[in-house]
């Protein structure tokens, strides 16, 4: 594998000039990525939870809400995470919950990130009247009474799925991201290297994607993680007020049910600890990955 070999030494000979070709930086990023502990640990945790969410539900015949066991069992060999007061298998719930949590996070966070980044970059780079119009739209969405809108929408919809929920979350949470990215893009657009990219014949979108965005790649990833976490929490909040998916399970819903049926007072810790840890682990590992990515993409940090 190429990444395992040491980097070609620029002083070594004519190979050094290969760096003038476009592939080289990517291979180098991979080289550093595979040696970054934070990135490896973070992606290992996220990866295994993701795998659990994708695969585990296939191994259990019963759904997350089915009452198949004696209620209130402690974690055991048969029921790994124990059972709820209603006799539902918490591990099954957890696996389904992780799955939908990832779905909400990726979809909601992804939609929010795409809109927020597009609006932020264009507003910050273009400036002028384009900036003003985009700012106005951003502010309108920002002050939109989200919950009220959702209540109205919910009244017209027959059933709500996780995809609908994610879509709604994604379409309403982007304004802060757009603002944050706009201000960063604004300050980066006045750098000389952006002017040099223009002198090299780069088009606007190419300058944004190739010169401005890479300079804030960890910032962008951070934005996505925050939007991801925000979507997960927003989904949990919606579940709480009864606007969650009409069927299915999420980590937010699990915590909500645990609290609602007095798991805290009854000391049924295995009911609320797994979903809580699950959310924390997903969002936390993404954060650790972000710190690692920062080191991979910022050549100055590598040497410290």
């Amino acid at each position: 594998m190429t990444a395992a070999q040491p980097l070609p030494d620029p002083l070594a000979g004519p190979e050094g000039t290969a760096a003038a070709l476009p592939e080289a930086p990517r291979r180098e990023a991979l080289y550093f990525a595979l040696r970054n502990k934070k990135l490896l640990i973070g992606s290992a945790i996220v990866g295994s939870l993701l795998l659990l969410g994708i695969l585990a539900p296939f191994f259990f015949q019963n759904g997350p809400n089915e009452r198949i066991a004696p209620p209130g069992l402690e974690p055991s060999a048969q029921y790994w995470f124990g059972t709820t007061q209603f006799g539902q298998d918490i591990f099954v719930q957890f696996a389904h919950g992780v799955r939908s949590t990832f779905l909400v996070g990726v979809l909601g966070g992804g939609i929010g990130a795409v809109i927020g980044m597009t609006v932020g970059f264009v507003a910050g780079y273009k400036g002028g009247w384009i900036d003003e119009i985009l700012n106005m739209i951003t502010n309108v969405v920002l002050v939109l009474p989200t919950l009220a809108v959702l209540l109205i929408i919910a009244a017209y919809l027959e059933s709500r799925g996780i995809v609908m929920q994610s879509l709604f979350i994604g379409l309403t949470t982007w304004p802060w991201a757009a603002r944050a990215i706009r201000s960063q893009a604004l300050s980066l657009s006045s750098r000389d290297y952006v002017d040099l990219a223009r002198l090299s014949g780069f088009r606007t979108h190419k300058i944004i994607l190739r010169d401005i965005a890479p300079n804030m790649s960890s910032y962008l990833f951070m934005t996505f993680i925050l939007l991801f976490g925000g979507s997960v929490l927003a989904a949990a909040g919606l579940d709480f007020v009864g606007l969650g998916p009409t069927d299915g399970m999420s980590l937010g819903l699990m915590m909500h049910q645990a609290v609602k049926w007095g798991a805290l007072q009854l000391g049924v810790w295995w009911w609320f600890v797994p979903p809580g840890l699950g959310i924390t682990a997903i969002v936390g590992s993404l954060y650790i990955m972000n710190v690692g990515l920062d080191e991979v993409f910022n050549p100055k940090l590598r040497e410290m």
């Binding site: 760096a19 300079n215 910022n298």
Partner: protein, 312 residues
């Protein structure tokens, strides 16, 4: 011919663009092919702004800049802009901020290749890059594959000159490209500019260093607070300066055997002794017009009151 026709630049500054700053006021001059024009002025006089307008990086507030007859502000669309940049290139003043810090320094070459020389095979491109590096006295082995923060200011600056030379340009805007170089590379780069000129390039050489301007240029343009105060053939401007600001600038070059006070006193005495009223003298108190007066063939000066001394 790269021609500035009464070009002004006004920046909106302050919160909500409440204040306006005139960085360039009705600048009128031209750069012909095969000629070096030195743009000389103190810090903040608007030199870089003029260069950036010629490169279409800053917009022109008033007036027009034409390149071989085409108003460059009419160049819309990526195709036409690219054609323009194929012929007109620039090297910016600050080499450190001219590089994207997350990429290797030689990406500036790759960018040019990606936009202009897609079809050139690797080997041929490599040869071209090496040749360009050769002309700026850079060792490819030491430069390629390094990040900008691993290179010195002088190396970065020469790399940018090499980049501009990859394209077959007709005009070069060189903003303080010598300032970061040590004496020996400085001579190399000056000689390179001489070669380029001989090859028919027109060079706008921006500097605050009078000796450099005098050494290399055919024409000199002196700017002061955004206005051109004097311009003409270099030997005329340097040999027979007319505007008090030019005189002051020329006499403020440090001399080994004299203190500044002596120089200043001499300057004042000479000024006082010269009682002739010239055609380009204005009544005291009148604002100098932006239009220059042709005092001698091809030697222009901004009219000023008789006996005036430029304030520092």
């Amino acid at each position: 011919m790269l021609r500035f026709d009464r070009v002004s630049k006004v920046y909106n500054v302050g919160s909500f663009g409440s204040d306006r700053l005139t960085a360039v006021r009705e600048a009128d001059f031209e750069v012909r092919r095969g000629e070096v024009v030195a743009l000389i002025g103190e810090s903040g006089s608007g030199k870089s702004t003029l260069g950036k307008m010629a490169l279409r990086i800053a917009s022109v507030s008033q007036g027009t800049i034409t390149c071989d007859g085409t108003d460059i502000s009419t160049l819309r669309g990526n195709r036409r802009l690219k054609d323009y940049y194929r012929r007109v290139q620039g090297v910016f003043q600050d080499p450190f901020s001219s590089y994207n810090p997350v990429f290797k320094a030689d990406r500036v070459f790759a960018m040019v290749r990606g936009e202009y020389y897609r079809d050139v095979p690797d080997a041929q491109w490599r040869a071209k890059v090496h040749a360009a590096l050769e002309t700026v006295r850079l060792d490819p082995q030491q430069i390629l594959g390094k990040y900008p923060h691993q290179l010195s200011g002088g190396q970065l600056q020469r790399l940018l000159i090499a980049r501009a030379l990859l394209l077959d340009i007709d005009y070069l805007v060189a903003d303080e490209i010598i300032s970061m170089l040590d004496a020996s590379t400085r001579i190399d780069v000056l000689n390179l500019l001489g070669d380029l000129k001989a090859r028919g390039l027109g060079i706008l050489f921006i500097t605050h260093d009078l000796a450099l301007g005098n050494y290399i240029s055919d024409e000199t343009v002196i700017v002061h607070k955004g206005s051109i105060v004097e311009r003409g053939r270099t030997e005329k401007v340097f040999g027979d300066p007319l505007h008090p600001y030019t005189k002051k600038l020329l006499s403020s070059v440090p001399q080994f055997h004299k203190k500044w006070e002596e120089v200043e006193a001499e300057l004042k005495a000479r000024e006082a002794a010269d009682t002739r009223i010239r055609d380009y003298h204005l009544p005291v108190g009148q604002e100098p017009p932006a239009q220059l007066f042709e005092a001698d063939e091809g030697h222009f000066v901004q009219p000023f009151p008789h006996g005036a001394r430029a304030s520092a």
